[in-house]
């Protein structure tokens, strides 16, 4: 796997080298035919057939979700990038063996990402919270004060999440931020639905207790 460099890589989503080696329309679709309406399964087949547009579409469709979950669970941007890149690499490698319709590609990717997060944490045994990992608010129309408050709230949520046990944190992120269903989470975490319900309930209670004293500080008033 090619290691990325933050300084050497050009800031483009679809670089010229890839376009040259992998021109659009070399798969089953005609040149110019949109791929954005296709399912993940269909895009993966197109990728296997060598269509560069499928790569771009799958990357932009799946990797942000994978990266978001990894960052919430790990609390560290660099580690989340590593996990996302590795998870996507596994996706590309297993593409020829994927059985369309048997499972959702996004669920498979979540599962790979969660397992990579667990492996990473096991290796570390006692990570740290990187506050730079918390995303900045994208809405520039809000005032500076509001943006600062949004940032403070996201920091507070991330710090609280990092105080949860690992499995609780994963379940809470998948349930309440990614809004997956309990059966989906059960499949991703390889546990029963009841265990997911228990993990999310306990996680939410713990988060509420952690954040209870910070309501006013975070700008939440009783009225």
């Amino acid at each position: 796997m090619q290691k990325r460099s933050r300084t050497d890589q050009p800031d483009v989503y679809y670089n010229a080298e890839i376009s040259k080696q992998w021109p659009p329309g070399t798969g089953a679709l005609m040149v110019g035919e949109p791929v954005s309406g296709l399912s993940d399964d269909a895009l993966l087949v197109l990728y296997t057939n060598g269509d560069g547009r499928a790569v771009q579409e799958l990357t932009m469709r799946l990797s942000p979700r994978c990266f978001g979950v990894a960052m919430r669970v790990l609390g560290n941007r660099a580690e989340a990038e590593d996990v996302t890149q590795e998870a996507m690499m596994r996706l590309w490698r297993m593409a020829p063996n994927w059985q369309p319709g048997q499972a959702q590609l996004s669920t498979w990717l979540y599962r790979v990402a969660m397992n990579l997060c667990i492996d990473l944490k096991r290796r570390q045994r006692g990570g740290y919270v990187d506050l730079d990992a918390v995303p900045e608010p994208a809405d520039t129309s809000r005032s500076a004060a509001e943006q600062m408050q949004d940032g403070a709230r996201q920091d507070a949520l991330q710090l609280a999440l990092m105080q949860l046990p690992e499995r609780q944190r994963q379940a809470v992120v998948l349930r309440h931020i990614e809004e997956l269903t309990n059966p989906e989470i059960a499949g991703i975490m390889d546990i029963g639905v009841e265990a997911v319900e228990s993990l999310t309930a306990r996680g939410k209670r713990a988060l509420a207790a952690i954040l209870a004293d910070r309501r006013e500080e975070l700008g939440y008033t009783d009225g």
Partner: protein, 129 residues
């Protein structure tokens, strides 16, 4: 109770804010992922080297080769096959000068007749109540 509700409401608001603020994907990561896709496809196109995988055909050929070596090669296998064929032939149609194998171990044709010393009617009569 009211505090718990407030805390839960705060948490729900924070979750909602987190959902509305998607984590921006770094552009260098996007580029790296798409380069990996190119590398992985090239890897997928390379056929698996067959010489490193023991196939059923190769294993079967190995067993036959070992058996041939143990017997002594193709001429020895031909001699063994001829000897087997002669044995079967002699067994089915023995020459007249050869003794009867049954007589050699003490049996004769008469001793092999079933129910020779019994009266069938007596036997059947015993079974009738």
């Amino acid at each position: 109770m009211a505090d718990t509700e407030k805390a839960n409401q705060t948490l729900d608001d924070l979750f909602a804010a987190a959902r509305e603020t998607p984590v921006p994907l770094p552009e260098h990561l996007v580029t790296a992922i798409m380069n990996d896709a190119l590398v992985a496809r090239a890897e997928n196109l390379v056929p698996t080297p067959k010489q490193n995988m023991p196939s059923r055909t190769r294993l079967r050929a190995g067993v036959w080769r070992q058996l041939m070596f143990a017997i002594g090669g193709l001429p020895a296998l031909g001699g063994l096959a001829a000897a087997c064929a002669v044995g079967v032939w002699v067994g089915l149609a023995p020459p007249s000068f050869l003794p009867d194998p049954a007589q050699l171990v003490g049996y004769s044709n008469s001793t092999l007749v079933p129910y020779k010393g019994y009266d069938l009617a007596v036997v059947l009569g015993e079974e009738v109540p």
